[in-house]
Symmetry: C2
Subunit: 110 residues, 2 copies
DNA sequence: AATATATGTCGTATGTTTGCGTCATAAAAC
DNA sequence: GTTTTATGACGCAAACATACGACATATATT
């Protein structure tokens, strides 16, 4: 039903990234990982006001999108931000906003 | 079901903005409005590969979020970007990304 | 070996989004 | 005043997302 394939790759890509950022729990996880730098999955579940399973799901979405990395350490899993990817995503948003703002045309006066 | 109220206002706000940007049609509409500066609703429906009703719905979401403005002109409606709001949103994304990137801590080596 | 701990996967219920046809409204053209 | 045109609102079906308990797995501890 969703007709995403009708749009440009740039639009699809930025839409997917936006979707990943469109849940407050995922933003909270990113912020928490930024503060702690590295931490085990359990710590994150304790910090986020949702069940462990739900947090695990959000973590795997963030990982799938490439925003975070996870490393198994025995029974535990250590998660941390992928700074390079996040920088790239930040750039992508910046470019989009710049591109739509730099078309200043005085004929518009609403 | 969505437990958004459990999170900070900043997180909720950015999540809502991200959601608005999370559909390629809405990104395409923003880009089209940037190129044409001002245009009537009908022009947008013709440009976007979705039905007129669906485009109208996306337009009202963008309008509700404040990213675009619409001005009635007789039977037609003239839409255009709200540059100030878009600049503000761009800033909000920037601040979020900066804040999570500026916690460089050498103890993380994944 | 048995138990405890950390984590991911699966199934499922519920809520949300998307897409579109049909209808309502209101200005413009005739 | 009737018809045409542009648009939004409404209602519905299909798809998708969210949240979570129960289960599976695999490493540690005893």
């Amino acid at each position: 039903m969703r007709k995403t394939e009708q749009f440009t790759l740039q639009e699809q890509e930025l839409a997917v990234l936006s979707r990943v950022l469109s849940h407050p729990a995922r933003l909270a996880i990113l912020k928490f990982l930024a503060e702690t730098e590295c931490c085990i999955s359990g710590d994150i579940s304790n910090e986020i006001p949702l069940s462990r399973t739900t947090v695990s799901q959000h973590l795997s979405e963030l990982k799938y999108a490439g925003l975070i990395k996870g490393e198994i350490e025995g029974v535990k899993v250590n998660y941390c931000l992928d700074h390079a990817k996040i920088r790239a995503v930040s750039e992508q948003f910046n470019e989009f906003f710049s591109s739509i703002l730099n078309h200043k045309n005085p004929s518009c006066n609403l």
